[in-house]
Amino acid sequence: MSERTAATTDPDEPEAADDSTETPTEVTTGSTSVVRALENAGVETAFGVQGGAIMPIYDALYHSDIRHVTMAHEQGAAHAADAYGVVRGDPGVCLATSGPGATNLVTGIADANMDSDAVLALTGQVPSDMVGSDAFQETDTTGVTAPITKHNYFASSPDTVGDTVGEAFALAAEGRPGPTLVDLPKDVSLNETDREPGPAQPPETCRARTDPADSQVEAAARAIERAEKPLLLFGGGVVKADATEVARQFATEHRIPVVTTMPGIGAMPEDDELCLSWAGMHGTGYANMAITHTDCLIAVGTRFDDRLTGGIDTFAPEAEVVHIDIDPAEISKNVHADYPVVGDAGRAIERVDAELDEGPDAREWVEQCLTWKDEYPMDYAAPDNEPLKPQFVVEALDEATPDETIVTSGVGQHQMWAAQYWTFTEPRRWVSSHGLGTMGYGLPAAIGARVAADDDETVVCVDGDASFLMTIQELSVAVRENLDITVAILNNEYIGMVRQWQDAFFEGRRMAAGYEWCPQFDKLAEAFGARGWTVDSYEEVPDAIEEALAYDGPSVIDFHVDPAENVYPMVSSGGANGKFALSEDQL
């Protein structure tokens, strides 16, 4: 491992880079202006992959204090930047070259867009005078990414490119966060300029309203006051707005039960009595009962995704909906808001709280919710004669790690088990691909999270066999950077969620679902230079986890889990949340 690192170390690396005193980059060209804009915006880290058209930017990064993490694939760069941003609360930055570099970013940008994660993508482009000629590695990057960015920019001049990058960075974080992109033709990067970019500011036409209108606050407060069965729904917006503390205080002070969405996990401590965990397709029975029976749903920072609502006709069917969101376009998009409150989540909750003459009297309702908690406990059967259960592995990992461990995941059954059986108590600790459902998100996300996290924090990636295989090359990055990450593969030799649906809805025809051909992940991990373990039984679980966590570097535990295990509870697609099935025969 160390020999390989030595062999790939650039002999010309200036030593000053290590003990630098944060000297800003001198602006002489478009590319130095870009890097200077990033420095001005406070960017400390960028993830990316080199390539022809982006070379001038990398050349400018050579002398910058910005840390660059070379990824194995541009998709990994986008996911790493995304996760970095989730953990840090600032936009993550990723770089790629033109053509395939840019198109490889697309999945990661789309992922960030669906989850409202602030990401700035910088892509190289062929020189301006060759644009439109189908030049080598040319793709219409702004055209391709327009539907999946808040806005994208085609840089036109070295004099303004720094301002454009600053604006794109600021726009990513403004209001409802999301990805932005700046496409950088090579001539714009290379040509000379001495114009220093100004401070990073979002465009005038995209400033979000943070303080809600009085009339909206008053109407919402009146609705909450008269509620008998109020329910708070915390979405990812609560986490992104750093409104967790205010939101928790509001719930606790007024004794209002809380359900979260999946991106909202951690907004309320899941071990809190009032927290019913997350609702939706694989949410807890009690969360789904509560959301079905509430008469006043106070939703904060959520876009009412179909995986949360189930069929719209039966979603919170008797509830007046108070919807707090910073994006006016989310109001009444999927679920009609009887009382919209447009503004910053924390500010809006504070304002509504101040407006309440008295909190709702919901004692009976709280009791009812607690009864549902007892009635529909989250549990799994683990008989002696069946293989290792994936849920057990999640619980064991949760127990073996500190409270504020960061958990990333891929997408599928393992993701649901991680979200169901890990008890999250803090925000920005659950880092997953929710809206887009991107298999392969887990490992590059763990890299981004690891780089973002403090050294004493623990980062675990709960992955699936099929998900892990999609971005496995990023393990080389974790090894090269010696990142302390523990990957736990819940390996059931299936693209498991598909297998579960085939069994439930396609009469068991398991077409293209078997992954018994997967490589031996422990050996593969060792080949990458990481540590690897294989675990087949309950007895081996604790030691493997302990050893993997103790190892200071990337480690992979391949848990061979019960291939027949399914994710329940489950609300069938378009079904009623309150009719969640506890087993396949109830679907």
């Binding site: 009635e375 002696d384 309150g578």
Partner: protein, 218 residues
Amino acid sequence: MSDNRTGLQGPAPDERPHPDGRRNAQGIRIDPEAESEHEPRRAVFSAIVEDEPGVLSRVAGLAARRQFNIESLTVGPTTVEDHSRITMVVEEPEPGIDQIEKQLAKLKPVISVGELDDDAVRAELVLLKVRGEDPDKVHAITEMYDGRTLDAGPETITVQLSGDERKIDDAVDAFRRFGIIEIARTGQTALAHGSKKTVPGEEPGTSGEPTKPNTNTQ
């Protein structure tokens, strides 16, 4: 691993209480006494946009990917340099119309956007190329609709007509008897009635003061 674990417990779906209420396709709670679903209606939007490359494609792409039904879309310069006005006619049920306006407002180049009232002044222009066999009658119909003859020859006559959509529809019907060879319609463009402002942003210097409906939602 023998545990006391029992797996998921609790009453089956059919044994659970379930409220009677429900929502319509637009997510609006239905009053069982007076059930109502919104019918599609036509709306005319006017937007002042920054005249930057790709702005039309951003507007059209937004409508396409969110399945907004565009009837017509026109774009042209305003009296402010670098500002253009887009006029878009859509047909959608009610919450969808709000949604179009709010999504348009989110686009970075869109400075301001608003729906026009019913009394807005609307017009479109059409060029009609008809067979030239009966020039006198073509001329008479053209006069009747306050049109102009742009091009006349032994084979074809091309006339220009303008007016609101209904007038144009009627005129096109009237010209059918001559045999319409080709037709080009611009789609509607519109301004608010009287001294009412269509949408803010057309006066010089207003680009720095966006007045999108970000501020109030409904």
